[in-house]
Symmetry: C2
């Protein structure tokens, strides 16, 4: 066991990648999935996983880092391209949905796993950004809600996660889900349903 400190073989890299991929899926099914379960699912022996990641926490940490980074980037990108709060919410929802489709699993994990609870902190900037947009929209009168902006941001975040889980549970078609999510979030912010639908339809073109 060389602990993979130096060399790089294509095999090792492929394995590492596959382990990460599989771990994502496996940890959704069971947030307490053991290293053995993950290893087996990746078609590898437990000992090999420890060759790539020194500990269970290290594995999950790597996973979390990748996901948070991707989500934050998508969100920022969507927001930057938008004009006005409504479009901002719509765009970043759609953008986040794209990446999150892959990381859906992990985000769900983030909810329950105590181990990676630090993820909340790492997502805090994104949440703050959302609250900012919402506050703007409420001030402009584009959005209407009895909730203060931070609470509404909280609700939005959870709705997004909920819709992802709804897809997982087969209640929603993955193809259309992104747009539905965007419309639903806007609607929840008090944007009239027809306006929300029209806006998202426009963005989808």
């Amino acid at each position: 066991m060389t602990l993979m400190t130096t060399g790089n073989s294509s095999r090792a890299d492929a394995n590492r990648r596959r382990i990460l991929d599989v771990a994502l899926a496996e940890l959704l099914r069971d947030p307490d999935a053991s290293m053995d379960q993950i290893a087996r699912a990746a078609g590898v022996v437990r000992r090999t996983v420890y060759g790539h990641f020194p500990s269970r926490d290290a594995l999950i940490g790597t996973l979390v880092d990748g996901a948070v980074e991707a989500v934050a980037a998508a969100h920022a990108g969507g927001r930057a391209a938008a004009e006005g709060p409504a479009e901002s919410v719509a765009r970043s929802t759609l953008a986040v949905w794209e990446v999150a489709d892959r990381y859906r699993i992990l985000v769900a994990l983030a909810q329950r796993s105590v181990t990676v609870q630090g993820i909340r902190d790492r997502l805090a900037p994104v949440r703050a950004s959302c609250a900012e947009v919402l506050a703007q929209g409420l001030a402009d009168g584009v959005f209407t809600s009895p909730l203060p902006a931070p609470a509404l941001a909280y609700v939005h975040e959870q709705m997004l996660l909920t819709l992802m889980e709804a897809v997982n549970d087969g209640l929603l078609e993955s193809r259309e889900a992104g747009s539905s999510a965007a419309v639903t979030l806007l609607t929840a912010a008090g944007v009239p349903a027809s306006d929300a639908t029209a806006l998202v339809a426009k963005l989808n073109r």
Copy 2:
């Protein structure tokens, strides 16, 4: 150890009650909380907990039963007193909010804990009832959403829980939260914000 098969002392009853209460809170903080953690938090020794509940699952089962029963009753009551889908959603939201204040913890637990995942099944009737109301509202045109009724029910359920957590986190004033929750749920279902506000205000009188 008499295993409490026969007698009834006030001490035993108080302990049993306290254990259940504390377990609720403890299991929210950490869904994998050990019997020892729960026992200590209840000011009792682990062995004593086993005196009241034969196993960890039994404890959680008892917990779940009580909460589900209360929530289901509140929901049914709210729904029964209502005329039309919108009022139904508003009333049961307000009603559930009342009881949930005590069980907030557990309902949140139900989300993430793998151990008590069977709770989902037990809440299924309630969820089905919600979906029914929502389907009715969508058919009537009172509600507007790109989501199918079951998915919308799912979202509503989660929003309720999210708002409860928002109260826990101090983002929301507990006093007003119930009404805000009802308005927010109606809004998310596509009811114009002004109508939702008016309806809930009326019900609050």
